[in-house]
């Protein structure tokens, strides 16, 4: 069975094609780059709608299939920016109706986990999912992915990007901050905010900006923001590992590109005798292949949807989703 998946929750419009035998035939995408500032939802959606056909064509060509070979359409139904989600959903519906094949909406966060489990051959990890819009520590228990900790305010990627933007570094600022951080080992005091299993970054962001205005160096601030926020992320992940006693740790999402975060999680995992995994960035960042793969899993487990049930779900939580394809 061949599934074509549309991703479109935020700045990426992606089309992936996967088979139920476990092959990724294509994984094409186009990433919206704002001229200035952060993601403007309406402009991002406009950009997706301009690009989706080309991305779709590329994916079908890359996979070397005919449209008639497609047996199933899946799309990211949520969570995400409404206008972007609607663009992907509309494309998916149109294609499903035209091809007369079933359609399935999948949860974007869970797709990140499932593609990681698939590409890295991971069984049952504690997952740290970090991106511009999401920050969650997730572990499976009794037919659901349960959230063990998450941000109470802004996502870590948003925190890094916003800081960068406010100090004049263009979007996406995370990678630039990582480079700057390498030039410093001087820790500036910033609020460390772990609330039980949850996290909060807005206070740290405000304080870091205040210190920048008072003349602190960008290198020192970049270093301190990373050390501080990543330590908090790793601490919450560590608590979930200790709590669930799972022996695999996985890092997914766009912020997974950061080498320092990887190193810290690796050290933590080692201490708990857990194996640490990061999928290739192609599958870590938002992509269509993960949506296609999740669509196959859901369809294989018997999930069916009518077009009328494919309305987008902007605030669809990870722990609301039943996961029938996992029986453990």
């Amino acid at each position: 069975m061949i599934c074509l998946g549309f991703e479109g929750t935020a700045h990426t419009v992606g089309v992936g094609i996967a088979t139920s035998e476990g092959e990724i035939l294509a994984n094409e995408k186009e990433v919206y780059q704002p001229d200035e500032g952060g993601i403007h939802p309406r402009e991002a959606a406009q950009s997706h709608s301009d690009n989706v056909k080309e991305v779709l064509d590329k994916a079908v060509n890359k996979a070397n299939i005919e449209p008639e070979d497609i047996d199933l359409i899946s799309f990211s139904q949520g969570p995400g920016l409404g206008s972007c989600l609607r663009t992907a959903a509309t494309s998916a519906r149109a294609l499903a109706v035209w091809l007369e094949v079933p359609i399935i909406g999948v949860n974007h966060c869970i797709s990140h986990i499932e593609i990681g489990r698939f590409t890295e051959n991971v069984n049952d990890p504690v997952t740290l999912y970090v991106s511009g819009g999401n920050t969650q520590v997730i572990a499976y228990d009794s037919s659901r992915y349960r959230i063990f900790g998450e941000t109470l305010d802004v996502a870590i990627g948003n925190c890094l990007d916003t800081f960068a933007r406010r100090v004049g570094i263009p979007h996406p600022g995370g990678p630039r901050l990582e480079e700057l951080a390498k030039k410093s080992e001087n820790l500036i005091d910033l609020p460390y905010s772990v609330k039980g299993m949850d996290l909060s970054f807005s206070g740290l962001l405000t304080e870091a900006l205040r210190k920048y205005e008072k003349g602190a160096s960008l290198e020192d601030l970049a270093y301190s923001i990373q050390e501080n926020t990543f330590a908090a992320l790793v601490e919450v992940t560590e608590r979930a590992v200790a709590h669930t006693k799972k022996d695999e740790v996985m890092l997914v999402g766009g912020v997974a590109a950061n080498q320092r975060l990887r190193q810290m999680l690796d050290l933590m995992s080692e201490e708990h005798d857990a194996d640490f995994y990061v999928p290739p960035m192609e599958f870590c960042a938002d992509n269509g292949a993960m949506i296609a793969w999740n669509g196959l899993l859901a369809y294989g487990a018997g999930k069916r949807q009518e077009i009328g049930e494919t309305r987008i779900r902007q605030r669809w939580r990870t722990d609301e989703v039943r996961v029938p394809w996992r029986s453990d």
Binding site: L152, K195, M197, E227, E235, V241, M268, R317, E320
Partner: protein, 224 residues
């Protein structure tokens, strides 16, 4: 004579070690074993940040444990605080974590326990103490029948409705994630106990918990 440490638990941030009171202080059989909570360095953290966090948490936790006891909450008695080895040496509470046994009780006993938990949280909050990590792993059903609150490592002094609400929200989350089969009835009883003990102010806090859970990230499907 060299005694190797008897580590009884390796938590996320600290090792728990059992020693005889007599070996540490002075001969006294009555006190039996004591618990040492030693905050271990984390290799993944910047050294400076690591030491700051461990030192702050050690001192702060000891103070919170003592103040909670004053407020009428069952907590272990503290014998010594050591800021060189980052240790709190305290009474060893014999018993089982609520996490392990909550589902095992018959419903009426579970209700009694949850009422008690709610009352004790109210006493903490009424004294301006936020536990900061109200999970069922941090509540011990003691052999004496009391429910002991442990691990104040993430606690703080804060009398704001928001902090109290977040505290209770964390417990709600734990019940939902770890005790989902009995989550709602247990949570209801906790709130009932909280209201009984805390009186009028409790309503505002419970309203705030709902608000925190409504802030988009915690909305259940049927409530949207």
């Amino acid at each position: 004579m060299i005694l190797t440490d008897k580590i009884i638990a390796k938590g996320a941030e600290a090792n728990l070690i059992l020693k005889n009171f007599s070996d540490l202080f002075f001969p006294c059989e009555e006190f039996g074993e004591v618990l040492i909570k030693r905050r271990i360095p984390k290799e993944y953290r910047n050294v400076e940040l690591d030491e700051d966090l461990r030192d702050f948490r050690t001192v702060h936790e000891a103070k919170l444990l003592a103040d909670a006891k004053k407020a009428g909450v069952s907590t272990p008695l503290i014998y010594r605080v050591d800021r060189t080895d980052m240790e709190i040496i305290m009474e060893y509470v014999e018993g089982e974590a609520i996490k392990e046994i909550l589902e095992g009780f018959r419903s009426s006993k579970r209700k009694e326990i949850c009422l008690n938990i709610g009352k004790q949280i109210a006493r903490l909050h009424d004294s301006g103490i936020i536990h900061g990590d109200l999970t069922t792993s941090n509540m011990i059903f003691g052999e004496d029948g009391n429910i002991y609150f442990i691990d104040f490592g993430l606690g703080e002094y804060n009398s704001s409705t928001e902090a109290k609400g977040t505290d209770i929200h964390l417990l709600h989350r734990t019940l939902n994630s770890t005790h989902f089969e009995v989550a709602e009835e247990s949570y209801e009883s906790v709130l009932e106990g909280y209201k009984k003990e805390s009186g009028v102010g409790a309503e505002e806090v419970i309203e705030r918990v709902k608000e925190i859970e409504r802030r988009g990230r915690y909305v259940k499907k049927e409530e949207r």
